[in-house]
Symmetry: C2
Subunit: 221 residues, 2 copies
Amino acid sequence: MSADAIYEAMSTLRAVRRVKPDPIDEAVLQRVLQAAAWAPSGGNVQPWRVMLVLDEHKRQALGDLYRPQWAKYSVGARKNLARLEGEALAKQERMLAAADHLGEHLGSAPAILVFCFNPNHMAITDANLPRPSVVGGGSVYPAVQNAMLACRAENLGCTLTTLLCFVEDDVKQLLEIPEDWYTCAVMPIGYSVGKGHGPISRRPVPKLAFRDTWGNGFTPG
Amino acid sequence: MSADAIYEAMSTLRAVRRVKPDPIDEAVLQRVLQAAAWAPSGGNVQPWRVMLVLDEHKRQALGDLYRPQWAKYSVGARKNLARLEGEALAKQERMLAAADHLGEHLGSAPAILVFCFNPNHMAITDANLPRPSVVGGGSVYPAVQNAMLACRAENLGCTLTTLLCFVEDDVKQLLEIPEDWYTCAVMPIGYSVGKGHGPISRRPVPKLAFRDTWGNGFTPG
């Protein structure tokens, strides 16, 4: 197996927010969904499902739900611009312009994935801790990440949003999601209008990974 | 980019619970950590850190914390055996035997990753919904999955456990994790004693992915 191909996909998986309406071959979609299906989950229970929304009416309805959520959320994002200058400011402005485009056009992506989960099928080991619980996500987001890496490998643009959780009941009604299943990620996908996936900006390893003691940034010996 | 290499890694990433104590080259560890660092997160904030535990005393201390947690948890897993028979029973018994081995020997893995997160740096869009929250996990578990895929690509065995959340305060004290950071995944890694990564057992795509309406299993047209 070539580790290089895997690292190339990971290191160029950036958010693609402007995609063409051109349809995606269903064999390609099958490979993306198969990648998600391969992901590990707690006890191998796979307590997640994914809706592949292709129907135009339902995609536009998701877009209509997303538009006001992004409009509301972006107010805070714009306020943060005041703290930036130079290239950092320009970069953030480009990101916001693309995110505004997505805010208006999410429903025009040719396919939208809506990841769902059932907490009754999860052993949520941090459920009773006095801080926000995240462990349930450990049995869904590995599948989401596999799907994103598969999109990258197939040259399909994609990005992830969790803003539709604010209107989860409406999303559930639209897609006929059962009462005991909930939504945790929405991923519009399509072929990129621009350059698509490419260089990403991330913190260096020693700022994220510590050797044995907190703050002791890892560099290989 | 070869999509095949990526799909091969995903489709053979099974839990490896018996690893040799042999040390891992730090250049290999660096690549695994870099893979994690490339993962996307909400707003690109990267609200996670990972402790790379190499120190023998600290690894054994993690093992000592894990042993009683697995012993307690495995009681329920063993009760479920009564429902199984034939190959399904044999398979589950093999899994439990490997998990019991890990329960005794987690601290003997040459490296243990402990993923941490800070909820103050996350926009948890499902925090106020009347169901368990998982969205915070969306900014950590993609990094965890990248690390697992990198282990697979490097022929390093790995598995994920969240049981140490039950003794989070002890883990935080051991590793000097600050008050406002918490733990969400522990991953012992090392070279496999047995065959290591290989075939996995997952539901087929049409059981997990639905086209437009819940329950309408996807098959490519």
